[in-house]
Each structure stands twice: as C-alpha cells, then as structure tokens.
C-alpha cells in the first residue's frame, strides 16, 4: 500500500542512483498493464512473456546508462518500448514465417494477400504520423527545405530560388534537418520502419 504513495518519477530517480528495490516496485506496479497490452497484440502468452522481458531489459539498460530523461512519463515510455518490440516481433515473424503446428491444415499458410493488412496499415499510419510530428519539431528553415525537397520533389536550385538563399545554404539546412531528425529519433527510441 505504501508503495502506491511513491511516484514513478521518484522511483526512477532512486533506481538510477542505485536503489535496486525501486525497480521491483516499478515492475510490480505496471506489470499487469504492460503485459496485457503486449498480450492484446500477440495473443500468445510465451511471446508476450518474451516481449515483456525484452521491454524491461531495454528499460533497465537505458536507466543504468543514465540515458533516460525523466519527465514524469515512465509508463508511456515503457509502453512505447513494448509497442516498438511488438512491431519488431511482427516484422520478424513476417520475414521468417513459422510453421504453425496446430495439427490441422491452415489455408492461410498458402494464401497470401499482397495488399496491406490491418496491422500493416496501422503501422504505416503510425510511422507517417510519427514522421509528421518529428518534422514539425524542426526549426522553420530546416523544415521548409525538407518539405520542399522530399514532399514537393523540388531541386535544390528551385529551393534556393524559392527561399532566397544560396544552394549551399539549402543543402546545409537539409543536412541539419536530417541530423536533427536522427537525433530526435535516437533520443526517443522511435522505430520508423514498416
């Protein structure tokens, strides 16, 4: 009961400063929510168990390296890691289809649909949404160049004419835009592949 009084942020800080017991409280507090979330996606208790374990291994490593920035969002952060690992799992199992030894013939093992299924559509929409939000984080000048180059397919010459800067400046802005995007992606552990 008393554990409920200690906020996640404090526990995270305590754990990062070496108190192992804080991690136990965090895991026990959130294990059901995180495990249920994973299970609701994979519908297999063994796989859910594996992903749950991998999620917390990632959490532990990030916290121990001091690479976590506490903003009072511990659970959403862990959920995000779990979500990314679930996507990784589906991606891997798509690449290496497993033989489903359920005892009876499964017609879906020989039929395939080349159009995006519901899961892939969701992932695609999510990736696009993430990219859009990442691009919004960029400074205006870098965002403008990136939008013109990637989305409007303009050449750097056209971009330099439109924005009134030299081609080299436009190239530099594009370069910094990509560097900054990578930085944001790395900082937030975002997986942007479909």
């Amino acid at each position: 009961m008393q554990h409920e009084l200690i906020p996640d942020a404090t526990l995270v800080r305590n754990y990062m400063s070496g108190q192992e017991a804080a991690l136990e409280i965090l895991i026990l507090r959130h294990k059901q929510k995180i495990y249920s979330f994973i299970y609701s996606k994979v519908f297999d208790s063994d796989i859910a168990e594996d992903i749950f374990q991998d999620t917390f291994i990632k959490v532990i490593r990030t916290l121990k390296r001091g690479a976590y920035n506490e903003e009072g969002k511990f659970l959403p952060w862990v959920m995000r890691i779990a979500h990314n690992l679930v996507i990784d799992h589906f991606r891997k199992s798509n690449r290496m289809p497993k033989f489903d030894n359920a005892g009876e013939f499964n017609i879906f093992s020989v039929l395939s649909d080349s159009t995006l299924n519901a899961e892939k559509r969701i992932i695609k929409a999510q990736v696009e949404d993430d990219v859009r939000r990442l691009v919004d984080e960029l400074p205006d000048d870098q965002r403008d160049v990136l939008m013109m180059r990637i989305y409007k397919d303009m050449s750097f010459k056209e971009i330099s004419e439109r924005t009134g800067v030299s081609i080299n400046t436009a190239l530099g802005r594009m370069r910094y835009a990509l560097i900054n995007l990578r930085k944001i992606i790395e900082k937030n552990n975002i997986v942007l592949t479909n």
């Binding site: 192992e20 991690l23 136990e24 895991i27 026990l28 294990k31 059901q32 495990y35 249920s36 299970y39 859910a48 168990e49 749950f52 374990q53 917390f56 291994i57 532990i60 490593r61 121990k64 390296r65 001091g66």
Partner: protein
C-alpha cells in the same frame, strides 16, 4: 453454459500477468548489470 464461459474468460483476463520467474529474472539481471563510464564511452558488464 454461456454465462459460465463468459465468467471464465473475464477471470482469465484479470490474470494477464507475466510469470513470477520473468520478474525475478529481470530483477536479477538488473542487479548483475553495471555500467562503467569512461570519458564519453559507456561499457556494460554483466556479473553472474
């Protein structure tokens, strides 16, 4: 019968939790893992 089935499934949903062994493994892993910083580099060591 239908009622019995639904009661069972609700019960199962509430029991959606990782195994105790998994939690114990994570706690042991955490205790075994230490990160050593050297200038700008960080090294992980796992003590068994």
């Amino acid at each position: 019968m239908a009622k019995l089935y639904s009661e069972k499934s609700i019960k199962n949903l509430n029991r959606l939790e990782p195994k105790d062994e998994t939690v114990k493994f994570l706690l042991d892993y955490s205790k075994a893992l230490s990160v050593i910083s050297c200038k700008s580099l960080k090294f992980e060591t796992l003590l068994n």
